[in-house]
């Protein structure tokens, strides 16, 4: 064999060819990451259009109604953003668990119970805003965190799946709220706030108003800033701290994390608590807004915890992804009222949400496997070429 002088292809350190390959792999990854949710949304739109067409309605008319309200009017924009704020917090709360392979299905119970206690504590005191609001928020986070901790303790000590225990805790929450939300307990015995025929906690003082931004379309929750902060913090903690690394490692492989020195049990407990504490904040934009409340009553919005699961899934558990998902979800929720007022079936928004979730779960798994395999093949091919070159050299030498 002749002496081979060809350089091994781009496997040395530094150098231009390597950088080029890098960028290609990264771009491809990014493309794959975006492909799945976009595909899911497109399929969901297609299915909903089909359903609308079958029921004799013009799908494009329906979508343009939704679009005009949600995107075109300032009323609609504010409604979407306010809803998205709540949804975003819910999504992040659930995603925090997901990043560690913990399925906190119990965000719903956690935030309802947290809101009840927060409203009760807030109603019992009358303090200046800068104390009152943090007090309410901390109460909510504590209650949410402790409630979630029950599931964490059960998992760590008895091996109970957190999926089961949190679902059960949701049911128990409803019972606990029913037990506490009666006159003489969390509800003032006589009079109190609100109308006479509804049972609710004592109105909090006006000092508990969280600031709002006045816009043409009405009051925009100031909590949207808190939501953004939570997102930034979420990203920083996960990608830049030791704790975040341990959490992600545990999520990727519990056994490898354990061997690397992560105390997996403590990690489960901690992240369950944090997930619950974040979930405790879900009800806060509503509770601290003068428009909707200052009290916890039977009409307090329920079910946002479950919405959070869908949003976390759709957003791939990343802060930016969750933001898009929360906006999409809020858009669908806020605009389906337009459908019913115009004689379109409002259920079509729910159908879309459902199909999006199903499609997105399937699409992510497919894309994940495809991406992994593709990268393996690519690296394998590159290394094989290099090995061939090296073998040539060896023989020649």
């Amino acid at each position: 064999m002749t002496t081979s002088t060809e350089p091994s292809p781009g496997l040395g350190l530094g150098g231009a060819p390597r950088r080029g390959r890098f960028q290609r792999i990264d771009r491809e990854r990014l493309l794959l990451a975006i492909a799945a949710p976009v595909l899911a949304v497109v399929i969901a739109f297609a299915i909903s259009s089909l359903l609308l067409a079958i029921s004799g309605k013009d799908p494009f008319q329906a979508f343009s109604l939704m679009g005009n309200y949600g995107l075109g009017t300032s009323d609609g924009q504010v409604a979407v953003l306010n809803k998205a704020t709540t949804y975003y917090i819910a999504g992040v709360a659930v995603a925090f668990g997901f990043r560690m392979n913990l399925f906190n299905i119990g965000a719903d119970g956690q935030y309802r119970l947290a809101a009840l206690f927060a409203a009760f504590v807030g109603g019992a005191v009358n303090l200046p805003s800068f104390i009152e609001i943090p007090l309410v928020l901390i109460t909510a986070m504590l209650v949410g965190g402790l409630w979630a901790a029950i599931a964490g303790v059960l998992k760590v000590t008895r091996g109970v799946s957190e999926v089961i225990s949190t679902i059960m805790l949701n049911a128990i929450t409803t019972g606990v709220i029913g037990l506490l939300l009666v006159p003489g307990r969390f509800v003032p015995s006589v009079g109190g706030g609100g109308s006479s025929n509804s049972v609710q906690t004592k109105m909090m003082a006006p000092s508990s108003d969280f600031f709002t931004l006045n816009t043409q379309g009405g009051q925009l929750y100031g909590f949207i800033i808190v939501a953004v902060l939570i997102g930034v913090l979420f990203q920083l903690v996960l990608s830049r701290t030791r704790f975040g690394f341990d959490l992600r490692a545990t999520g990727r492989s519990e056994e490898a994390a354990g061997a690397s020195g992560v105390n997996v049990k403590r990690m489960v407990l901690t992240s369950m608590c944090i997930s619950g504490a974040l979930a405790g904040l879900i009800g806060m934009p509503d509770l601290l807004s003068a428009d909707t409340g200052h009290y916890f009553g039977q009409s307090f919005q329920a079910g946002v915890g479950f919405t959070g699961i869908a949003i976390a899934l759709l957003g791939r558990n990343t802060p930016v992804g969750i933001a898009f998902a929360a906006l999409l979800w809020a858009f669908l929720d806020a605009t389906n009222g337009q459908l019913s007022t115009n004689n379109y079936p409002p259920e079509i928004a729910n159908v879309m949400q459902g199909t999006i979730v199903i499609c997105v779960v399937v699409a992510y798994e497919l894309v994940r496997r495809f991406g992994l395999k593709r990268q393996q093949q690519k690296v394998g091919a590159q290394l094989a070429a290099q090995a061939a070159a090296a073998a040539k050299k060896e023989v020649a030498a």
Partner: protein, 589 residues
Amino acid sequence: MANHDINLTVRTGTVHALMGENGAGKSTLMKILYGMQKPDEGTITINGEQVEFATPGDAITRGIGMVHQHFMLADNLTVLENVVLGSEKLYGIGARAKAKIKEISDQYGLGVRPDALVEDLGVADRQRVEILKVLYRGARILILDEPTAVLVPQEVDALFDNLRDLKSEGVTVIFISHKLHEVLSVADAISVIRRGTTVGDADPGSVTARELAELMVGSELPSPESRESTVTDVEMLKVEGLRIAKADAEGIERVVLDDVSLTIRKGEILGVAGVEGNGQAELVEAIMGMLPLDAGTVVLDGQDLTGKLTRARREAGIGYVPEDRHRHGLLLEAPLWENRILGHVTETPNSKGFVLDPAAARRDTERIVREYDVRTPGIEVTAASLSGGNQQKLIVGREMSHNPKLLIAAHPTRGVDVGAQAQIWGQIRAAQQEGLAVLLISADLDELIGLSDTIRVIYRGRLVADADPATVTAEDLGTAMTGAAAGRIESADEALAEAAVVAEAAAVVEDAAAAEAAVAAEGAAVTEAAAVTEDAGTAEAAVAAEGAAVTEGAAATAAVTEDAVVAEDVPGEDATTTDTAGDDAQAGE
């Protein structure tokens, strides 16, 4: 681990043993035979007909059945229900099916009761149900994956009786195992797989357990004589009275580590030899703090680590190259630089205080990739896309980068190509010279003898014997691993000198076996080969008693084999032939 250049021929109506250490590629081969995985190259031929399996279903219709190591039975169903499940079309689900089950059970002496609940059955009974399940589906070729791993000795004997019955009814059995004596007692033919390729065939009638062991573990010796001792007097790791008892799936408590004490000094490599599953994994996990101890202490460099968490132990200076790198050593879907952080997240350069330092970690990953020759296009690719050898080099580099006082290396070169193997050995040696203490667990006896300063033998959770690698042969070590020797093992000088001759003799046996295979019915060849083996055996005085017993047994089997060979001159010889080749440029399963 991929397979390449596998050639396997199994004759109808025989028990054909497939041997090899864990990770040698047996399972991959079986998956290919059973249609669970597709070969990249090569062919499978059954009764002269070339076939291709896309799914296990295809294999079943061709009469291949597999009994998995882990039973696939529904506990809350009866035997009958379990057997018909998925094959309801064959004989229905009622009386006809029951009659068929009884018929099969009687025919092969399986003694299966169709109406018993599976949860009431013992392990051996469950295994017979599994066997019946594949026979019910019309299998004529049975693959048994490590069937004796879960059985007690009496049950093993019963299973072997069943296998002989099956054989006499014309069923072909492929029997996967790494237990030498079992294979010798039941198999009619033996093929050995090492590092993903078939390294040889042996005739159970003429081969000894020791020769088989040698075939299994290979004989590329790293030259042990060319180095001077770096062992110092400073005790680095002192482990005393370790005891761990675990409850198994059936709820029976088994003592997996029993009063294990060992000391490793600075600059010393302590090798632990043993057949897999004798407590090596638990010993490692106990020292790493991954398993709770029932009793005992672990002291590293004067610091008591008993009761400390894994992270504290790692920070105290334990480096860990785990046995199963995919499960314990890597985050497969994370990029290389994150894998470089794994296990050392609290240490520089990976973090400053509570905050990660990705830039420094990336830089250091580049250094590891360079210094440890990890072949990768970059540090942003996932660990899963590297080959096994390169994954291992990354792990070794990572663990060496934190100045460990003790390195625990469990099978550090398993599933690693020869080049990477030499590099890893060199790195361990170099670190040893700088005072590193190493606990080396390996199934590769030559690796143990070549690297270690001291060897301890673990058997059923106890350290039963020790040896000086300079004065022991792989054969004697192998004997001790089966629990046949205790205390200090020393091979006779003569035996050591003969080691090379033995290797030659083994080669002769191999050749003889090959010749025998070619001539098929020539009994003379068998006897000749046995004679050669016996000579080699006597040369090794130290293990005379054990060796003799083995050789005797082998002679007895030889007679049986001879008969089998004669009886088998009937047409329809080759049951299955495989000739597969894959590429191992790729890892990540």
